[in-house]
């Protein structure tokens, strides 16, 4: 696929800027940005992303885990049911213990296809982790 739509969700302007800059090295990635959890949910139908890069702790409205919970909800009437299988990569600066606790909260259905990335991350590492997830989901070969 040569047009992979990635929705990056973070309330930190500088972080969005760096991720945008890093991802723009790959011409096949088309980057969309959301500045809050609600913004992300609202943009889903407009963007139809192939991958979501989601910050965990956001102070704007709803946090990343809440967003993931809504997207991954198994309720057939969920407004986001269409996006249930979109891979989510969490971006977080929280430590391991907290990650595990949150992973528990959203249920194991999320793992292990989706990924956790700890901020800050070296540009090359970010690109390769994204590539890995895309491969796992057969979005690239």
């Amino acid at each position: 696929m040569n047009n992979i739509k990635i929705l990056v969700v973070d309330d930190d302007e500088d972080f969005l800027f760096t991720v945008r800059t890093i991802l723009s090295r790959k011409p096949e990635y088309q980057i969309f940005e959301a500045r809050s959890g609600r913004d992300c949910l609202e943009q889903l139908s407009k963007v139809e992303p192939h991958l979501i890069l989601l910050d965990v702790i956001m102070e704007t409205d709803i946090d990343g885990f809440n967003v993931a919970q809504q997207i991954k909800s198994s309720d057939p009437k969920s407004p986001y049911a269409k996006y249930r299988d979109v891979p989510i990569v969490f971006l977080t600066s929280v430590e391991q213990k907290t990650k595990l606790r949150f992973a528990d909260k959203i249920g194991t259905s999320l793992m292990p296809t989706d990924d956790f990335i700890t901020k800050p991350i070296k540009p090359a590492d970010l690109l390769s982790r994204i590539e890995e997830v895309l491969k796992k989901h057969k979005l690239i070969s």
Binding site: D14, F15, T18, R25, S93, V94, E95, Q96, P120, P123
Partner: protein, 366 residues
């Protein structure tokens, strides 16, 4: 207060059916959750499985005595308010019971009003206990939220700044020489601050109980191998040889994430304070009573006078050899706390210029 009091669960334990009947009929008008037992064993079983607020115990019972029941209940740490029922002639018995944890006594024969008054006093006491527990819980939650909040507030700007510098360091900007050196120095200092916040958070949580999760049977050999793998970069950079003298698998009761943290800290030290081309030796063995974990390096060693201070917060050996080694002075504090949670011990053997060996012993039964 009135409402919770009505919902209190009250237990009457007496082998005399008349006393049980009298207590039940007096109290059931005011309290709906009253249960009566004719012996201590059944009562104890109920107390272990249910939430109980007030306990009326006859001291003289066949089988498990009232005194024994009080001791067993006190050991459960449920802060149940205990009233003992005793004959007039045996006040000494009541005193003994109160020393063991009962808070009041009723002398037989007692009037309905005396019983109601004793229960009222016990209810007030229980209510205070519950209020105190709620306040403590709230305080703990506030502290935890405060910690998370502060650390997030500190970490967000730090990690954003580091992320920006990573970008500059990348191949897109073609910076080299002095400029690249400046960027790298800045990255190092920011990541040092980041690490400090992380470790400070861990130490603060460790100081409260309940940081270490539930101990379950865990194979720690894969954890050791994982941690070695995670430190591969440093091992290669310092051209170190890692020698492991460990079994194929070794099950011990531990909490996986704290065990990983312990291993990570010790392995990281053995790498950082090593010499180029040195060795890191990890040994694991056990007998029926202990598990022994050793992490040894052939590095710069520690002067004798510093060893007692190694486990103090923010302590770092500062001399010519260590001045370029990054660290927060919290790693070994974390290690020690985790070992304490396992009721284990840590010993240090070290000789300057030869190396350092950390020997940890965990009891097999925790």
């Amino acid at each position: 207060m009135e409402d919770t009091e009505k919902n209190f669960t009250i237990l009457i334990v007496d082998d005399d059916p008349a006393i049980r009947h009298v207590c039940l009929s007096i109290l059931k008008k005011q309290y709906s959750n009253i249960f009566a037992f004719e012996n201590g064993v059944e009562a104890l079983d109920f107390i272990e499985k249910n939430s109980v607020d007030i306990l009326l115990i006859d001291l003289k019972m066949p089988g498990m005595s009232g005194h024994e029941l009080i001791e067993r209940v006190t050991q459960l740490n449920k802060e149940i308010v205990i009233i003992v029922i005793t004959a007039y002639a045996s006040i000494e018995n009541a005193i003994e019971a109160m020393q063991k944890g009962a808070s009041d006594f009723l002398a037989k024969p007692f009037t309905p009003d005396e019983l109601r008054f004793a229960i009222k006093k016990a209810s007030d006491k229980r209510e205070l206990i519950l209020q105190r527990a709620r306040a403590l819980q709230e305080k703990r939650e506030m502290e935890e939220n405060y910690l998370s909040f502060v650390s997030h507030q500190l970490k967000s700007p730090l990690s954003a700044a580091q992320q920006l510098l990573y970008l500059l360091e990348g191949e897109n900007y073609k910076i080299d020489g002095e400029a690249l050196d400046i960027v790298e120095r800045a990255i190092n200092r920011i990541s040092e601050a980041n690490r400090l916040v992380n470790e400070w958070l861990v130490v603060s949580r460790l100081e409260k109980s309940g940081f270490v999760g539930d101990f379950t049977d865990t194979d720690i050999v894969p954890l050791i191998l994982q941690e070695i793998e995670k430190h591969r970069e440093g091992i290669i950079r310092n051209k170190l040889e890692v020698i492991t003298e460990i079994p194929q698998s070794y099950i011990m009761k531990t909490d996986q994430s704290s065990m990983s943290m312990l291993l990570s800290n010790l392995i990281s030290n053995a790498i950082k304070y090593n010499k180029n081309g040195g060795k890191v030796i990890i040994r694991l063995r056990g007998d029926e009573k202990h598990t022994i974990l050793e992490i040894e390096d052939t590095g710069i060693g520690i002067k004798k006078e510093y060893i007692p201070r190694l486990f103090s917060k923010f302590f770092r050996v500062r001399d010519e050899k260590t001045k370029n080694i990054e660290g927060t002075g919290l790693g070994l504090v974390i290690v020690k706390k985790i070992i304490d949670e396992h009721r284990g011990d840590i010993r240090v053997e070290s000789e300057p210029d030869k190396g350092t060996k950390f020997i940890i012993s965990f009891p097999r039964t925790i």
